[in-house]
Symmetry: C2
Subunit: 462 residues, 2 copies
């Protein structure tokens, strides 16, 4: 959908607010240094988001392909430290924090408690579970000054099973649901696509503990529903695919994908039933299971989560047992359930990017709206408008940087705020603003009194 | 101060709320499994805080010494994974999250932007800064599958200097203040006292960037004031000590300590001036500087933060330069400023522990209050009281676990909630509660209508 700017390109005035420092700043400096404001309002002048110029020979739009990772770098969300290893800059960290809060909401509803386990895991534990592979594994390994051997945890089944085994001894202590959102490590041979396949990444991992297999399967179903609720909050098209290779008696596991023509997986689905499976696991003609009734269709997709019923895979070797209601010692039935948090950032960057820049669902946008003003508008009016929107719990920021209006509009497009509010030409005459929403394709005049309700209304689609 | 319980020891009834799972639970199980509630209220039934029994030959109270770390383990705040390496359980993570929010508040007031840098740092960068020591260093080192060499970052001066050097080229981009709260690593020869000296730990590190030395010193002063404001919010006795060895022309640096008879540092202060210095740095008789006018006194203390003016120590070797107002290329003047977040948890645990258990300042308590009821009180009354307190923005939790009242009161003391609210004997007659605050030594009857204002009033001292 074509989307045009209103052509305002007058430069805003240089920052004139006082620089509050212990000693007065000479007038010659006051007008030239970067401004920091201390009034508590979100302001881009206080917020470091270094934009990179479009590189010569830019490949982010080559052949109609838009590279979300390239845009994350250019818009100042992150920086590469080494192959597959990234630093989050302020914009990127805000997105990650919002994803974390959204996950917290759904994990709390499951009755799950949040923990934070160490990133260093003793090799001994991994030997006990039987997962300590040979030298060709993807573990980052290290040893301390006493030559004790550790690995940087790629996941935490071993550690959590040990913690729970030390504390839980009766079926009365179960069910138990523990999760964390922490950095994980995997020494990928070929890291690629930025956050989509990194060597250091942030994951949510939930571990569930039940006394019996059937209770564990009930827990599994509750988690699956929580994942669907989480994905629904993002308001993006998703797929849930069976991830076990057989229909009957197999392991219980699902993969959660964004449907995306830019995804690296291919999901095979039936057009009349809910059969859906990753191409890698599809065996045709189906061996024992009945064939799905409808036509099969293919959909490219990006995996962002999985749920997995583990049974006693870890509780048995690691001796996590409880006395059940019949006073019998049983191995606890477990599940593990991941969401790739940094992967989600990379996947959404790619999914919603267009010619202008990035795009974000309301639920995880770094800011939900940006307020841009022309020089003709009184600063007090801008701040009063900000306060009105902010008090309505809309997470807005003011772009008060010493830049031209056109630059700011382009920058807002690059960052991908769900809403851009321009306070300018129509302000003096009729107290009207321009409300822009690129994802919906809206650019309209709104009265100041109506801007909150209009944003609330439109955000139902974002 | 002696503090007595009112002797209520009747057991509360077993949990009777429905277990909401996809299929109905047989009645025989409904009464025996651990309960999870889904009504959105904070409830300890949903919250995993495994208490450890007091070990035989318990040493936490030996010779009148109370071991805060031992209490953190027993009360279910954390678990040890390896020497100097700890997992945070839900109570510990809540304290850490609250410290992080409090730090965020003061960093935002400084105009600092929050980032999150990788934990893996390339050795090349550390070679460039000249900090890559020999084999006897405290670095955790590792290499990837391609034999590229990394270390687990103990701090991030090198990485942040590189990031800023790539993005900042003019004095107009400065001042700049960037911080993060992340895990750091140091392979201590002798980790000790739990979180006080760990090998994996959480720190806040703020890096500041200014064009000139004098601007950097103004920034330094602003940061020092922010540290004092942060410590003031904790309402605990603190010391600020000079950490440079000479008075004149030396490096500018301060250490921030809790005054504590259980601390490992000794601070030397003058009783009539503001001279204050770590014993390690005290050189007597003072060489060139004038002697402080008053008597010197000694105070044991625990360091929890430092501020440090770096000048061009990193910007020069790592080529972080900007054009100044006179169009001259200058090396940026930097500062680095740390707060030991996990260290703070360990230090406060030790500082406020008494015979009954831990204690927490309101600002960082895992919950600000716990609500305990006797079996005679209607569940609806308990929930209505919780809602009243919760709506007043007091972070309360209900102890609805299937345990006796006496056990819950002891557990509340062990955890160290600032306030314990008991809804029991005086409820039916006169809608009165018992409000307990061990740190102030208060146990009083309060009318339900007054509980919020009374907590607000008392919390000024916590």
């Amino acid at each position: 959908m074509p989307f045009f700017r209103n052509g305002l390109r007058r430069s805003v005035g240089a920052c004139s607010s006082a620089w509050t420092s212990p000693s007065p700043i000479p007038a010659s400096l006051k007008w030239t240094r970067r401004c920091i404001h201390f009034d508590g309002r979100n302001r881009l002048s206080n917020f470091w988001s270094p934009t990179q110029r479009k590189p010569k020979g830019d490949r982010s739009h080559q052949n109609g392909e838009i590279d979300g990772h390239e845009l994350l770098l250019r818009a100042g969300f992150l920086r590469q430290s080494a192959s597959g290893i990234f630093h989050l800059l302020p914009l990127g960290l805000r997105v990650q924090d919002k994803i974390e809060k959204l996950i917290d909401k759904h994990m709390t509803r499951l009755g799950a408690s949040k923990t934070s386990l160490s990133s260093l895991s003793s090799e001994d534990l991994w030997r006990q579970s039987g997962r300590l592979d040979g030298r060709d594994s993807e573990f980052f390994r290290l040893q301390d000054r006493k030559e004790a051997r550790f690995l940087l945890s790629p996941t935490h089944e071993e550690e959590i099973t040990k913690i729970v085994a030390d504390a839980v001894h009766s079926y009365k202590d179960l069910p138990l649901r523990l999760y964390q959102i922490t950095r994980k490590y995997r020494d990928e041979a070929r890291p690629r696509q930025g956050l989509l396949r990194g060597r250091e990444f942030v994951m949510k991992d939930l571990y569930t503990f039940d006394t019996t297999e059937s209770q564990a399967r009930e827990t599994y179903e509750a988690v699956r529903q929580a994942y669907v609720a989480f994905l629904t909050d993002l308001r993006l098209p998703y797929l849930v695919a069976n991830a076990d290779s057989g229909n009957m008696g197999g392991k219980l596991s699902h993969e959660y994908h964004f449907a995306s023509d830019r995804g690296e997986d291919i999901i095979i689905g039936c057009d009349t039933c809910d059969y859906s499976v990753n191409e890698e696991l599809f065996i045709a003609p189906l061996d024992k299971a009945p064939a799905p009734p409808g036509k099969l269709r293919l959909q490219q997709a990006t995996e962002i989560g999985h749920t997995f019923h583990l049974g006693t895979r870890y509780s048995h070797p690691m001796q996590l047992q409880v006395l059940d209601a019949n006073n019998k010692q049983v191995s606890v039935s477990m599940g593990c359930h991941g969401i790739g948090v940094s992967r989600l950032i990379g996947a959404i960057a790619t999914l919603l990017a267009d010619e202008e820049g990035l795009g974000w669902p309301m639920a995880i946008a770094p800011f939900e709206a940006v307020l841009i003003s022309t020089p003709s508008v009184d600063k007090a009016d801008v701040e009063s408008l900000y306060d009105q929107v902010h008090n309505a719990a809309i997470d807005m920021t003011i772009d008060d940087r010493d830049r031209a209006i056109g630059w700011k509009l382009n920058d807002a497009d690059l960052v991908g705020y769900p809403f851009v509010v321009v306070i300018g030409r129509a302000w003096a005459d009729k107290q009207a603003l321009e409300l822009q929403c690129r994802r919906i394709g809206i650019k309209e005049e709104v009265r100041a009194a109506d801007v909150v309700s209009r944003i609330a209304e439109l955000s139902q689609k974002l």
